[in-house]
Amino acid sequence: MKFYVRVDGTERVLHVSRDGAVYRVDVDGRVLNVDARNFGDKDAFSLLIDRKSYLVEAAPVKPERGVYFARVLGRHYDVEVLDELLVAVRDAERAREHTGAFTLRAPMPGLVVQVRVTPGARVSVGEAVVVMEAMKMRNELASEVAGVVTSVAVAEGDKVDSQTPLVTIERE
């Protein structure tokens, strides 16, 4: 299988095939034989690559969107793993994404403690528009796009669930 794998902003093309416990992994043209065994559960792997031993974790998070995670030597990585189909979907969505509205959603359940914008306000990328409190911590939620606020769906003091739409911003 051919995968387009993006970690930390760098994309690699990996071809993976399998023979028993050994995975043949071609990384940008370099071939590795990876002896990979589940280690206690299916998300953990004991890898032996050319006699080097690694205990890593890797698992799908939202596989239908290509979202995976990996943990190597205590460090967490958000990894995007796309196959040909998902690449096509992503490219199509990207084409749409550069126009239209961006909706800021609550990343976790919590309390809205501050709404810093009103409809009509102009915001820039990374500008904090809502402050939420969850688990005793205040968190500033920023717009991912530059544009004009078209609607504000919450008010200060509102309790919201995860993924509740908070503010809609029309790209410009």
Partner: protein
Amino acid sequence: MFAKILIANRGEIAVRVARACKEMGITPVAIYSDADRTALHVAHAYEAYRVGGPESRESYLNIPNILAACRESGAEAVHPGYGFLAENADFAQACADAGVAFIGPSANAIRAMGNKLAARAAMKKAGVPTVPGSDVPVTDAREAARLAREIGYPVLLKAAAGGGGKGMRVVRTDAEFEAALKLTTGEAKAAFGDASVYIEKFIERPKHIEIQVMADAHGNVVTYGERECSMQRRYQKVIEEAPSPIVTPQMRASLSDAARKAAIAVGYTGAGTVEFIVDSERRFFFLEMNTRLQVEHPVTEMVYGVDLVKQQIEVAGGAALTVQQSDVVPRGHAIEMRVYAEDPAHGFLPSIGTIKRLVLPQGPGVRNENGVYEGYEIPIYYDPMLGKLVVYADTREDAIQRARRALREYRCEPVRTNVDFLLWALNEPAFVDGSYDTKHIEAHFDPSQLHQRDEEVELAAIAAAIAAFDYRSTVRYATLDESKDGAWRRAARADATKRWSR
């Protein structure tokens, strides 16, 4: 000694206290909110009482319900842990009035240290160095600015009723004063119900060093050296260690002497911590006294071979301290790391959900103090600290190496933790050489630094590709596509100019 103790807290500290009780042959009684029926601290107790709804004010801050649980259980004492009601003088008083021993200082001692301005005055009187500043609340901006010039800018405006980094504002010029004073008094009134603010010299890039105190009701006071807690983010301690890499035996003696004076000045009993701020010339000034057990007490326990919780309980039961100050000798080095369910790569947003896999570091010199377990669903109502990882070794260098080794063994999934952030902090040259200060993280941390070695990044790519391969070998898109957000549906929805090759 007590036969039964009610633990008025939750999370790792409630588990810590329950373990101490069990080891002392005392029955630990838990309280729990509706969100905490299956919390770890309930399972570690021998009895458990529901005290209210999931919000803290309905349960863990609900004094009448907690006292009712004391009565019903027949608990003879209450351990407040830290946070919640631990520094609430009214609660201490209510316990005393109900004939239940409060495992902590008297309500008066809590009050004496609770008001920062009153505490400053008491400390000055006791001969404890305090930060240059005003002795009374400031109300007039012009007068305040005059005082600020006298002390020297920049200065800090602080709420008298504040603490722990809350209710403060830096002022750098006369011009800023009027607005700053108005804002700070307003916030102080709103947050603490007391508008009093005062001025202190602002110390840039200070170190935070604190002394552990233990006092009994018979006039004996013992100090257990210092902890350095300068690795902070937004005034929250992240990593603590004992001893401090910059404290010499002479400085330790001076700090300990000051802390002892502070405790005696307020008639302190039980475990307490005197916090000092240390400037770049290694001068130290009284910051505040925490009138309870600290989160970071384990580093002191490991270096001094003492169990502070057991000692707290003994002292509250009326026992005299048997340890002599001359017997208090440090050995080795300990480092505590606070492990949070948060995402350091994305603004430290709290991470919630169910912990499906929890593998804690083990082996020599590793101590885990946790409030969670495998299969536990992290509630949204409380602090996102999962627990503390504490390491001990012969030397500071070995302890740092051990801390790194232990963090790499940590596994908590799929909840995102700050383990990689802790690894970053331990690798910072200023941490390694001991020169770090409380502004270090703010000044130096950037999420792009979380990943360091190309080899590891490539391994992450390989591991994820193998996971994707396994996933794709067992799950078909046909199945996927039945989901609301299946790939085919999205492909169809999108006005896809299909590009099958790249």
